[in-house]
Symmetry: C2
Subunit: 149 residues, 2 copies
């Protein structure tokens, strides 16, 4: 049974979702499958690039955030899926071994007009590196069931 | 050497990027790592859900699109990274074994105001299932080098 319903999620709530670290091998494996650009899969080419070394695919970074969003929020919630994501931004490179700290903030909640049993929760997730620099952010809209539904 | 530069990308250009198919095992493996919600990792729970069966994580679907964007566009382009993505939408479930056809359209090109050597290319990627139903779409902004730079 979920412990978090639409009624429990309020504008301004923040949640510390924990951290993730991507290893060199994980970065190259993910990118080899989904984003085989030289900066993600070829260490020599990455060193010669403007990035000066291997960096994670933005989709890997976003997926790693998703894991923390699931573990720290959705797995306990009456989640009914997601509408989508806006403002997904990769603002600084994520390099092997860096620790990225992830937090989530509820931006807005809105009851569904067409269905009594659910509402929409717009929330921003942000990942920050050890230097306090934001590396990734995104705004998601999740569909969350109501307690009495 | 890249064959596609900023000057080669014009508003209205469309590219057929090919297809992808996600197997049951791939869906469960990706989601086990990045999105372990029951509808993505637990066949029984997925069957009992509103989706009536296992569906792919939206991040898996988006990443599979990215692979086709890289293979069919970025790998030949003077790519200098990406600003981010907006309007990422999951409009229908992606189920094991479905063939998703992906195409890309250039929406807008704009020269950088601060740097002479590059421009921004806003482009929409859409994935459609065998029934012609859109399952995923997103608008990316990529940074592409100019030919003479």
């Amino acid at each position: 049974m979920p412990s978090l319903y639409f009624e429990d999620l309020d504008e301004g709530q923040t949640r510390e979702l924990g951290t993730f670290t991507l290893s060199r091998d994980e970065i190259m494996e993910f990118a080899g499958r989904f984003d085989p650009q030289p900066i993600h899969v070829d260490e020599e080419a990455a060193e010669a690039s403007v990035f000066g070394g291997l960096i994670a695919s933005g989709w890997h970074t976003a997926s790693a955030c998703m894991r923390l969003i699931v573990d720290g929020l959705l797995i306990d919630a009456a989640s009914m899926g997601a509408i989508g994501v806006d403002e997904l931004r990769w603002t600084a490179p994520v390099r092997p071994g860096q620790t990225i700290t992830v937090r989530n903030e509820v931006l807005e909640t809105r009851e569904s007009e067409s269905r009594d049993d659910r509402g929409y929760v717009r929330n921003r997730t942000v990942g920050v590196n050890e230097e306090g620099e934001e590396v990734v952010s995104m705004v998601g809209v999740n569909i969350i069931g109501k307690r009495d539904a």
